[in-house]
Amino acid sequence: MKAEFKAKKLEILKMHIDVIREAFKQAFAPDRVTVEYPRERKKFPPNFRGLIFCEREKCISCFRCAHICPANAIQIYFHDKAWPGIDYTKCIFCHFCVDSCPTGALRATKIHDVAFATMDEMKLRATQTTKPPEVFREDSVTVDYSVDERGWSLVRVKERDELVVEAPPPRLKRRVSYCADPESCLGCRLCVEYCPSDAISVDRKANKLRILEEKCTGCGICVRNCPMKVLELREVR
């Protein structure tokens, strides 16, 4: 009984020494992983799902982003062409629109710190989404976590992380619209009406559709709207 008690006392003393050693170790070299956010920025992966930015030159007005959006947050605004505007009151940042974009015009950014004054301002119009986002940056240091056997640590690099990511172009072959079954064509000319790039016209003499391959962007709007489903997208060699 007495020996047991003594052993316990020694154990307690050992614990005291342990806690003092640990405290001094932490006081000199703390293992903390705090990022001093406005002055430092965490290095996010390139596929970080932040604010969405639409590149004006690449957009072919195919509406795919608006169709795929599960939250119905994308509304198309018509100017010279049709451009997506994003309603951030609805957006759930799933980035399906970015994934569905056939030309890589919609791009993810690493901007996650956005503030709006009113609910109305959260509905970004196409004129706003197609401009590169303006960010007021206080940070000069980029912080990255490094994980090894000893645990977590921070690696600080004195450089600014580029927030708008330069995404690789999507690996899709160029596709254009073509009429697979001209016999079944009703001649309703809906495709001519819908085409945003004026690539489809009707040859009255031959009585058939003429699709200009160099003008067609492969957006697929005519394919979706054809009542007889005779139009198809075909890869161009």
Partner: protein, 364 residues
């Protein structure tokens, strides 16, 4: 005019001699009226009480220790701590900003309080804090020179808990009452071992005179009597209600105990009481265990060498001590009392025995 000349004569007879600022002092002494102020500041008793180990250094120390303690605790707990007030020094003047805020905040005196005592006591509590400073010598910079400085110092220190208990009583609130009763309990737990540890060192040096104590420490007292050193340190933690024994102030249960009703400047005054007490006790610790003001002397600094060494050693002791806050959880009242009356008391008696044996026939 005759009176002023007499005062000037008294000041000049006992002035600090600092070769570094001597030319400036000579220049200022030729200016009428200003020379009286300069002579007063450099008058040794005044300098000891108001400037170097005294009031000015206490204020600077308070600025430093509050920031340092918060920062160190934050570091050990993987936080950042105060940061935004003066970023280049990582929030170093946070305590000054807090003090300014207290200064302009309304001090509310609630209806149930005993109004005169409630307002007076935080200010009265400064008497036992500042009086001991007059007794602590630093080389030849000394307020009151007496061979009984150490017992007097301890006696004045023992007055501080009484003011704290009175503060709790005057607040007339249940948290304050619980806090002051706890303060009284802790007081009996640490005071006896603390005094015995100090007496053991007095026995060891054979005198209660700090000059003799410092002179005899060719080996620091902490090595001569380590048991007394340990007892002194632990009772210091208990006396200043620091974390393992933070029972009277217990933030989480009784919300700063005796000081719960205070706000504004009055809170600023009572909040720093424990820190000031820590400073005083560390001064005594430095003199008894760390060879006081002795250290390598710089000829340029002249008389200011001794107080500088004393303050630097004291600050180092306090800085190391403040790490304890982040290591331990709080003891229960009964555990702390048992600890004080069993282990610490026993150790203090062992320390007394060591002191008596080593100090046999007039000290070492």
């Amino acid at each position: 005019m005759n009176m002023l000349e007499f005062a000037m004569q008294v000041f000049r007879a006992n002035m600090m001699d600092i070769p570094l600022i001597n030319p400036i002092v000579e220049e200022l002494m030729s200016v009428p009226w200003l020379n009286l102020v300069v002579a007063l500041i450099l008058w040794r008793p005044f300098f000891a009480v108001v400037v170097m180990p005294g009031l000015v250094v206490i204020m600077l120390y308070l600025l430093y220790i509050i920031w340092f303690e918060r920062k160190l605790t934050a570091r050990i707990q993987w936080r950042v701590g105060p940061l935004e007030v003066f970023r280049p020094l990582r929030g170093a003047i946070q305590a000054l900003a807090d003090g300014l805020r207290y200064f302009f905040q309304e001090s509310i005196v609630h209806r149930e309080a005993h109004r005169p005592y409630f307002v007076q006591l935080p200010i009265l509590a400064f008497i036992p804090v500042l009086l001991p400073i007059a007794l602590i010598p630093a080389g030849n910079v000394v307020g009151i020179k007496t061979p009984y400085a150490i017992p007097l110092f301890i006696a004045l220190l023992s007055l501080i808990p009484i003011t704290i208990i009175a503060i709790g009583w005057a607040s007339n609130s249940r948290f304050a009452f619980i806090g002051s009763v706890r303060e009284a309990l802790m007081y009996v737990a640490y005071e006896i071992p603390f005094i015995i540890a100090a007496i053991s060192m007095i026995y060891l040096y054979g005198s209660a005179d700090p000059y003799v104590a410092v002179e005899k420490q060719t080996i620091p007292g902490a090595l001569l009597n380590p048991v007394a050193c340990l007892v002194f340190l632990i009772s210091m933690l208990m006396a200043t209600s620091r974390l393992p024994f933070e029972i009277p102030e217990a933030d989480q249960e009784i919300a700063f105990g005796p000081f719960v009703e205070y706000s504004g400047m009055l809170f600023g005054l009572v909040m720093v009481l424990a820190y000031e007490k820590l400073y005083l006790m560390s001064l005594l610790f430095t003199i008894l265990f760390l060879a006081g003001w002795s250290g390598p002397q710089l000829a340029v600094l002249g008389d200011i060498n001794a107080p500088l060494w004393l303050v630097v050693k004291t600050l180092i002791v306090i800085s190391i001590l403040s790490i304890v806050r982040s290591m331990y959880a709080r003891y229960r009242i009964d555990q702390a009392l048992r600890f004080g009356f069993s282990w610490i008391l026993a150790f203090s008696i062992i320390a007394l025995a060591i002191g008596v044996v080593l100090g046999y026939e007039g000290g070492i």
